[in-house]
Amino acid sequence: MIARVNGQDVELAEGLNIEAFLLQGKINLSTVVVEHNAKILKPQEWQGVILQPNDILEIISFVCGG
């Protein structure tokens, strides 16, 4: 199935929850915020959300900036 992650179409396995998806991408869980279909999720909600086809995921973190 295909979901849109950070503006790009990504092929995902069925039944993957958000936390598992982040870990699979070697993303440091303690440094990111996740928006799922325009709703900001708390970290404790990541495990309970199974990604569905055409979901829109934004994974954001702090970077340098003025």
Partner: protein, 255 residues
Amino acid sequence: MEDVLLIAGKQIKSRFFLGTGKFSSYALMKKAIESSSAHIVTVALRRVNQGAGNENILDFIPGDSILMPNTSGARNADEAIRLARLARAAGCGDWVKLEIINDQKFLLPDNAETIRATEVLAKEGFIVMPYCNPDLMDARRLKDAGAASVMPLGSPIGTNQGLRTKELLFILIEEIDLPIVVDAGLGRPSQAAEAMEMGCDAVLVNTAVATADDPELMARAFALAVEAGRSAWRARPAQIGKYAKASSPLTGFLR
């Protein structure tokens, strides 16, 4: 008398705010923050690249800093509001530097959209620090919308041109009962001192520090200039005159 900068009821320990963009490394950025003793430090938010290095900028910012995420990248109020909410969800407090830009050549802020976003975010409990054009009426609207300060530009971002908006900044200092923070365009410590001498409450600098040959030393230079300028403002400078006035007595020796 103690000279305290209060924003949203919080005592800010330094009138020099530092942006974290454009440093060649996080380690160097950290040294600049430390050498300047900046208390308010800005950061930005971006999409995470999968598999990219996971070095975390927050590990390089002193723990007692006030982290002020900006909404750079936002082209309208809705995008800025979304970014601010994401920043707060990341767990770094309620401060936000509201920055809404849809002009890519001069990077000038959109005051109308900024006022709109300020109203929404202030109601949600954010401490809103809006980057804006120095317009008196818009500054009043920002205050009415709940802004915690007004952050007008001295000149366009990253240009190092200094206080090109000086006469308009004077008007904001006179008329707006909120901290006035000059944000953007300050390229030299002397320009930061000039802003403070004329009565600005603080300055925010990024490019001029980060792109100096020695950012750590330049950060210190800016912090000292801000302190000097503030002291000069508090001391109330004497009038500038056209004709000479002798500093030494003119009588009592050869005449």
